[in-house]
Symmetry: C3
Amino acid sequence: MTLQLVDHHCHAVHGGELPDDVFASWLTESDRSPAAGTSPWDSSLGLAVRRWCPPVLGLEPWAGPEAYLARRRELGAAAANSRLLQAAGLAEVLVDTGLDGPGLLAPADLAAQAGAGWREVVRVEAVAERLQGTTAEHWARDVAAALAATGATAFKSVAAYRCGLDLPGERPSPAEVANAAGDYLGAGGGRLTHPVLIRQLLWTALESGRPLQLHTGFGDPDVTLHRADPSLLTPFLRAVEPLGVPVVLLHGWPYHRQAAWLAQAFPHVYADLGLTLGHVGPAAPRVLGEALELAPFGKLLFSTDAYGLAELYLVGSRNFRAAVQEWAGGAHLPQAEADRIARLIGCENARRVYGLTP
Amino acid sequence: MTLQLVDHHCHAVHGGELPDDVFASWLTESDRSPAAGTSPWDSSLGLAVRRWCPPVLGLEPWAGPEAYLARRRELGAAAANSRLLQAAGLAEVLVDTGLDGPGLLAPADLAAQAGAGWREVVRVEAVAERLQGTTAEHWARDVAAALAATGATAFKSVAAYRCGLDLPGERPSPAEVANAAGDYLGAGGGRLTHPVLIRQLLWTALESGRPLQLHTGFGDPDVTLHRADPSLLTPFLRAVEPLGVPVVLLHGWPYHRQAAWLAQAFPHVYADLGLTLGHVGPAAPRVLGEALELAPFGKLLFSTDAYGLAELYLVGSRNFRAAVQEWAGGAHLPQAEADRIARLIGCENARRVYGLTP
Amino acid sequence: MTLQLVDHHCHAVHGGELPDDVFASWLTESDRSPAAGTSPWDSSLGLAVRRWCPPVLGLEPWAGPEAYLARRRELGAAAANSRLLQAAGLAEVLVDTGLDGPGLLAPADLAAQAGAGWREVVRVEAVAERLQGTTAEHWARDVAAALAATGATAFKSVAAYRCGLDLPGERPSPAEVANAAGDYLGAGGGRLTHPVLIRQLLWTALESGRPLQLHTGFGDPDVTLHRADPSLLTPFLRAVEPLGVPVVLLHGWPYHRQAAWLAQAFPHVYADLGLTLGHVGPAAPRVLGEALELAPFGKLLFSTDAYGLAELYLVGSRNFRAAVQEWAGGAHLPQAEADRIARLIGCENARRVYGLTP
C-alpha cells in the first residue's frame, strides 16, 4: 500500500449523514427506484464495499449493510469519510466539478480529508450551458473564451449521453456552428444535445491544449449503450490526431477492449477503467486484464470515478491495487515488473499526461 | 445439490430412442450438417455433456460419445431421461411450447419425469401465426384476444430472428398496424416478420401484465448476431418502462454484458444466461461472472433453455451450480453469501418475477 | 513440445540486424511513433517476448529490452532468427506474401530456417492492384485469370481495411462491376477500396475453390474497429454458403466470440486467433477460452500472424501451446483430451481445410 495513486477522474462526496436509501442509490448507475424485492447492495459493487470498507471502520469484512451503516453513523460521516479517503492512498485527485448537489464537499475539502493535492476537471457542456448573453454568431467565440477562463487542468465531455459518439470527424464550419447555436439559443438554451455544438466544444477544448476526457461505455439509463462504443469515435480521433493533445477514453465497459485498441493505435489516445473497476467488484482483475490485452501500459490511467460516497474512493483504489497484482500473478511476472506497471497506471501516466509534478 | 432450481425458460425433450446424428444435432445451434471431419461433440457443450451426464447413467465422466450413446440405449430413453431430469434438481419448469416436433414430450410428462411443477410460456409470434379468420382492421384486437386466451404465465418473442432488435420504441398506431396486417394477410400470412406487427405483439403482450421474455444474442444461423444485441432494444425498453411489467432478456451471449447493464439501469428489465451457460461449458464461471459484473443479483434468472435432450437440462443445471460457486470463490465470498446469491438467481428471482409460490 | 504446428497465416521476417526502434515498431499494430514517455515493449506482447524469447537466446526469462537486443546482436540476426524459428516447432507455414519490404526473407528461406514446409497465401487486393492493361469491361475476367494463375494454396482479403465488412451478400452484376472498374481505372488504379470490386474479388476467389482468409477485428490504425466486426459478414457468408468453400475469419479480437458463433452456425466458416494470441500475451488462455465457448474444436485454426520478427513466431507458438493446456486444466479435461484438441486446432484442422498432407 505504499503506492500513492493519482485519481485522474473523480467527483465530490457527500459530507453529511445519509439515509439508507440515499446511500444505496449511490451503489448503482440507475436513477430509478430499485425493482421490488431487490437492493443495490446485491451487486458486485455492493460486495466490493462490504469487502474493503468495514475493516477501515473497525468491522469485519463482509459485514451486512445494516451493521455497516450503523457503524458509519456511530462514527459520524466526517470521521468515516476521512478514514475511507485516507485509506484510499491518493496523492492527487482531479475532480470533475460538473456534478453538483446539496451537501457535496468542495474539492478542496475532499482533498484535505484525503490528504491529497487536487486539480479541476471542467465539463465542456456545463460551461456552454452556463453562457449568458451570447448570440448565434458569437457562440463559438464566447464558448472558447469561457473554456479558456476556467482553471481546468483537463476538460471532460459527456457527448456519449448527449448525442452519442458516432460523430463526423471534421471540425464543423463557422456557418454550421452559428446555425446550430441559433437553433439552440432560439429554443431557450438549456441541456445541450446538438451534435454540431458538441463537436465544436470538443474541438475547442482540444485546441486549448488541455487533455480531454470523454465518457464512453456504460453509465446511467440516459445513455444508449451501443452509441457510447468508443470505436465510434474513430473518425473524430483521426481528425484531431494532428493537434497532439491527449484524449482520454473514460470507463469503456463493455467496450473497454475497443478503447484499449484505440490507445495502442493512436499516440494521443489514452484509456481509463474508472467507473468500471469499481462497479465490477470481484471481476476487476479480469476486466483490467482485458484492457491490458491491447492497451500499452503507458496508455492506461487509474481513476475511481467516485461520486457521492467516500466508500467509492476506497473501493476504486483497492480494486485497482488487487487487480493489478492478480493480473501480474496470472502473467507470471516478477514482482518488480508488477510494481513498475502498477506505478505507470496508478500515477506516472497521469502525471505525464496532465503535466503534474509529484 | 439441495438447491431446487426454477428453470424459467426451457423446451420439450424427445421421449424416444435417438439416432446418433439426431442426438449430435442437438449439441449445436446450427441446423446444417456438420462440416466434413468435424463433430458437434467436439465443442464446449459436448464436453459439458461428457463431464456431467455419464455418471448419472452409471459411467465414468468423460466417457466418449459412442460409449455414452450405447449406455443410453441400454437403459432406454425413458429411464435415461428420467435419471437426467431428476438429477437436474428442478423445482419448477416454465416451458416454451412454441417449438414443436414429433416425439417431443408434453410439458406435463416432462415435468412429471423431472419431479417438478410446470407452467407455460407462450410465443407471441406463434399465436399470431395461428390466428384464423381475422382481417387487417381486426388483427390487433384478435391477436390481443388470442394472447389473453392462453394460459401463459409469461410470453416470449423471437423478434431477434424475425426483424432484429433495433425497433422504434413507440407503440405503432392503429392505422400502421392495420396497414401492416393487410400486407401480411394479403401475402397469405405464414411466418411473421413485419416489424410493425412484431412491435404490436410486444406491446400487446406487455399490456396483458404478464412478463415478456425476449430472445437476444446467439442462436441458429437464422439470426444475424449484431442485430440481436439487446442494447438495440433501449428505445423500446424506455418506452414500455411505465407499464411496469418485467421484460426478461434471454441468453444474451456475446452481448450478455449489455443485457446485464440494462438489468441494472431499468427496474423492469431482467437478464438470463439460459442457452449461454449450457453452450459455453467449462467457460460458464467466466461468462456468469461477466454478467454479474453489472447485473444486480436480484435481476439475473437461471434457465437451461434445454431443447430435445434431457442431457441439456442436467448440463444447464450443473454448469450453473458449479459456475456460481466458482464465481463466489474467486470473489472470496463467505459460503453463506454464495449460497444466498445462488438462491436468488436459481429460484427466488423467478418466483418473484412470475408470481410463483414455492 | 512434440506437437508440430501448421501456421496457416503468417508473413515474412526481416533477415538482417535491426535498429532498436525498428524492432520495437514490430511490437505494436500502430504505425505511428510511440507517445512521449511510452514504449511498445510495455505491452502484453512485449511481456510475451520477454517471457519466451530470452531463454532461446541463452538469457533468463524477463530479461529487459536492452539486454535482449544486445544478446540478439551478439548472436547475429541469422543465428537468432534460426534459433527462434526452430524453437517455434512448426511443421508447415502458409505465408501471406502480400506484405513486402526491404530485408524481408523470401518464404523459402523463412521455411528453411524454421525447418518447415511452406505454401503461399495470396492477397486478392494485391493481385487486382498489380493488373496491367485491363479495361473496365474486362476487369472481372482479367482478375479471375490473374488469381487463377497464382500458386496460392489460399486467398486472403483485407476488405476490413478497404471498405469494412458490412457488405451486401449478393454477387455484384457484371454491369455493376464494369462500372466500378471504370471508376477505379479512370482514377488511375492504385489502392483498391471500391466495395463493388472488393465483393467481386471475394466471389471470384471463392469460385476458384480455394479457401479464403478474411481479416476481421483489430489491426493497424487504418481499420475502423466496429466496421471489422465479423458479424457484419453474415449476409455475405449466407450468400456464399452454397459454394461450399472454406472462409476463415482471421484474428477477430475483440469480436472473436462473434467469429466463433459464425464458425458454429455455418459449415463453411472457420475462425482463427492469429494476431490475437500473440498480442494479448498473458491473456492468451482467456481469449482462447472465449473463442472456444462457441467455436467447434474442428473449426478453429492456429496461426501466428507473425510479421517482421522471428520472435513473433515463437511468441505465437508458445502462447498457443500454453493457452490450450491452461484452458484444458480449467475445464478439468483429461490430458489425452487436451492433447487431442490441441492437435485439432494446432495442425489437423488446417491440413483438412487447405488439403495439406502431413
